[in-house]
């Protein structure tokens, strides 16, 4: 062995870095409509190739084609467009509010609006999402009041979480939205536990777990797959592959596997990849997975192929690690534009209605913001109380916290 060649250390690198020309030629994109739609009870082994393809419904011309088309009505589609537009407008305003010092932090969804808004419509009332910080579309599509979201972001006197949580870490049991954790991946396995509990209780409600491409590297991703696979939990395991963690591209988490959906194969879990910028495809695949879960067929893993067009958070500047124009080169396009074009082609939408809707949406966001700011922003106006530091940690406040609260003079 002394004569064998020296070993080499391999570190994956993205195709381009700042200064280079964006290049997505390595991303193989199947034709819309070309990927089969197996029955929901197909043997996982028989559909492994779905983990290496991309299910798409909207083609370049804006038509909905193939076996995954047709899961939504006209009304649902226009509502979906409005949800995505609302999310984008909401993001724009909150991003600005952060720059104005009205909050400490914000995280936007730019380019990924289809994923959470379309997904929410495939679930039923009572189902529970375990989201990350980039699925506010679940709330918006379910009609959670924007002003409550903003109250949380501003940590003001009406903040439902009483100032305790980082901005965007919403919680709404009523809207099937589990309290967000700042620790990545922890919620992914909790979701499996929730789904197990629902099965144990002979309930009909299912769970949906959410995780980013970078966070699939975390151990709790594995734990979730192990438990979901072993107990056939009624759950949808969602991986949002937006190509980037913070400064690290998805290759650092993914390694040699080709896709993130591939991870599910090793657990016998049906695993699909879908065009995350295609509202119709996201909805159709989510519906397929929800039906599986609800029919006692067990978990499904879905990888949403999308692109994080904005910065990771307001603390981040992506131009330091990727070409500025990379987002424009992203081959799956913009989800709002794609759905808009489809609706126009479908004859139920127009450029004028779109402009008008944009204005309406922005008005409603601004109105909500005005209302929320009336209750205060991080550094001015109404605030949660200092008592809120000590309250609500335990159902009943133990003596040592009572003493400390007293010391704090509240």
């Amino acid at each position: 062995m002394a004569n064998s060649a020296p070993l080499k250390f391999h570190v994956p690198e993205p195709e381009v870095r700042p200064g280079g020309t964006p290049d997505f030629s390595n991303v193989v994109i199947p034709e819309a409509g070309s990927v089969e739609r197996p029955p929901v009870d197909a043997e996982p082994e028989s559909i492994r190739k779905l983990a290496f393809s991309i299910i798409r419904v909207l083609n370049r011309d804006g038509e909905a084609v193939g076996p995954w088309a047709g899961s939504l009505t006209d009304e649902e589609l226009t509502a979906g467009l409005r949800h995505m537009m609302t999310l984008r407008a909401f993001d724009a305003r909150m991003q600005m509010a952060q720059r104005q010092g009205k909050t400490s932090f914000y995280m936007q969804h730019l380019g990924e609006e289809a994923v959470s808004t379309a997904f929410r419509k495939a679930l039923a009332k009572g189902d529970m999402n375990f989201p990350t910080y980039r699925q506010a579309g679940l709330l918006i599509a379910d009609g959670y009041p924007m002003v409550d979201m903003m109250n949380q972001i501003f940590s003001n006197e009406r903040d439902p979480l009483r100032g305790r949580q980082l901005p965007v870490m919403y919680s709404s049991r009523e809207h099937g939205f589990f309290t967000i954790s700042g620790n990545l991946a922890t919620q992914f396995v909790q979701a499996v536990g929730w789904a197990m509990a629902s099965a144990i209780s002979k309930d009909t409600r299912i769970a949906a777990a959410w995780i980013g491409d970078g966070s699939t590297a975390e151990s709790d991703f594995h734990s979730a797959l192990v438990f979901a696979s072993t107990y056939k939990a009624p759950i949808i395991l969602n991986v949002v592959n937006n190509q980037w963690a913070i400064s690290t591209f998805q290759g650092i988490a993914r390694g040699g596997s080709g896709t993130f959906a591939a991870r599910g194969i090793g657990f016998g879990i049906p695993s699909l990849r879908v065009d995350g910028n295609d509202f119709l495809a996201v909805h159709a695949v989510a519906k397929w997975a929800a039906e599986r879960a609800r029919s006692n067929l067990g978990p499904t893993l879905i990888e949403y192929v999308t692109y994080r067009a904005g910065a990771h958070s307001t603390s981040d500047d992506p131009s330091a690690y990727r070409p500025k124009t990379e987002s424009d080169a992203w081959p799956l396009g913009d989800p709002i534009l794609r759905l808009k074009n489809h609706l126009i082609l479908r004859g139920i939408w127009s450029d004028e209605r779109h402009k008008q809707a944009e204005a309406e949406v922005m008005d409603s966001v601004i109105a909500a913001q005005k209302e929320a700011e009336g209750h205060g922003t991080l550094h001015s106006g109404g605030k949660p109380s200092v008592r809120d530091i000590f309250e609500g940690l335990y159902e009943e406040m133990p003596p040592h916290l009572r003493r400390q609260r007293q010391q704090a003079g509240v």
Binding site: W194, V226, P399
Partner: protein
């Protein structure tokens, strides 16, 4: 009243609660069909079915993580970590998630979860079957921490924990499972059937969280102990002839500070003992609270007896374990100080 070992008492506590409350589910490694490596869950799967008591994959983070999800759903999971030494993979879920669910969601979600784990040494388990990690939990806001020292408390505290609306960690001193152990490893083993604290009432009863108990009233010095060390403390008092007041804390968080302060104000002296490593152990918190609250009553420094600041060695177990000789020496020194 029937006499039970601590194992039987714990099993009985689980049984009572599974019977009363459909939401109680029990799982962990080897917990289902086999009934647990210490047999604490034996018979429960047969009685309540695989949906209420089942085997888990060897993944502590997954066990606690799924249990958090179940608790948030509305069940009352009571999971077992096979040895406290193996709770570390679950430490993130326990300390960053279970502990903060209620707080961060402002009560929108809660986490009524119980995690049981055998703890402590004295069984030649070496570095990885002997640890006492209680201080790693007492430092974490949002958890409650319980350490029973006998069968009757073990059952009553367990029931209280399952009924508690917040996450509770129960550290079960495994060396006490089958009998009281006072540290005299070279004497014949005694069993709970010969001990009054082995008298465990049938059915439902509660030993409330946050209440200490004076095991031995005394006037000379206060001894603060929990778990196995309660028995060691009683032996040391007996053997030194020092009239020690031995307090069994039972719950470390929330702590029954009133009982402690009242005792130390009376005795003017205090010895704190635990089996865990000394530095930054829970004993440090106890000493600190005593000197904060009883400074002007203290006639001697508060003494600590604890495990050495090393891993728990296999062969030198009895030189590591803070047995009655070491505790006795501390009592004498504290009396003479």
């Amino acid at each position: 009243m029937p006499r039970k070992t601590m194992i039987e008492a714990i099993r009985d506590g689980l049984d009572v609660m599974m019977e009363r409350d459909k939401r109680v589910v029990v799982y962990g490694e080897d917990v289902g069909y086999f009934g647990g490596v210490f047999r604490c869950t034996a018979g429960l799967q047969a009685k309540y079915g695989k949906e209420r008591c089942f085997d888990a994959p060897i993944n502590e983070s997954g066990i606690v993580g799924t249990a958090i999800g179940m608790a948030a759903y509305g069940l009352r999971p009571c999971v077992e970590i096979q040895f406290a030494d193996y709770m570390y993979p679950a430490y993130d879920q326990l300390t960053q998630e279970a502990s903060r669910l209620r707080y961060r969601s402002a009560g929108d979600f809660t986490c009524p979860l119980v995690v049981r784990m055998p703890t402590g040494g004295g069984i030649f388990g070496g570095q990885t079957h002997s640890q006492s990690p209680e201080a790693l939990f007492t430092h974490v806001a949002g958890l409650k921490v319980v350490v029973p020292s006998n069968p009757v408390d073990a059952k009553g505290l367990l029931i209280a924990a399952i009924e508690d609306p917040d996450p509770v960690i129960i550290l079960e001193p495994k060396r006490l499972y089958n009998g009281p152990f006072d540290g005299h490893h070279d004497r014949p083993v005694t069993s709970w059937s010969k001990h009054e604290l082995g008298e465990v009432p049938d059915g439902h009863y509660v030993v409330p969280l946050g209440k200490a108990l004076i095991r031995r009233p005394g006037a000379a010095v206060t001894v603060l102990a929990y778990g196995t060390m309660v028995h060691v403390a009683l032996a040391a008092a007996e053997e030194t002839g020092i009239d020690a007041e031995v307090i069994d804390l039972r719950t470390l968080v929330p702590l029954d500070l009133d009982t402690i302060v009242e005792s130390v104000k009376k005795t003017g002296r205090c010895v704190v003992i635990h089996e865990a490593t000394m530095t930054s152990g829970y004993g440090a918190e106890l000493v600190t609270l005593v000197q904060e609250n009883c400074f002007y009553h203290l006639e001697a420094p508060v003494a600590r007896v604890a495990g050495w600041d090393t891993p728990y060695p296999h062969a030198q177990e009895w030189d590591y374990f803070p047995g009655p000789a070491r505790v006795g020496r501390a009592l004498i020194e504290t009396m003479e100080a």
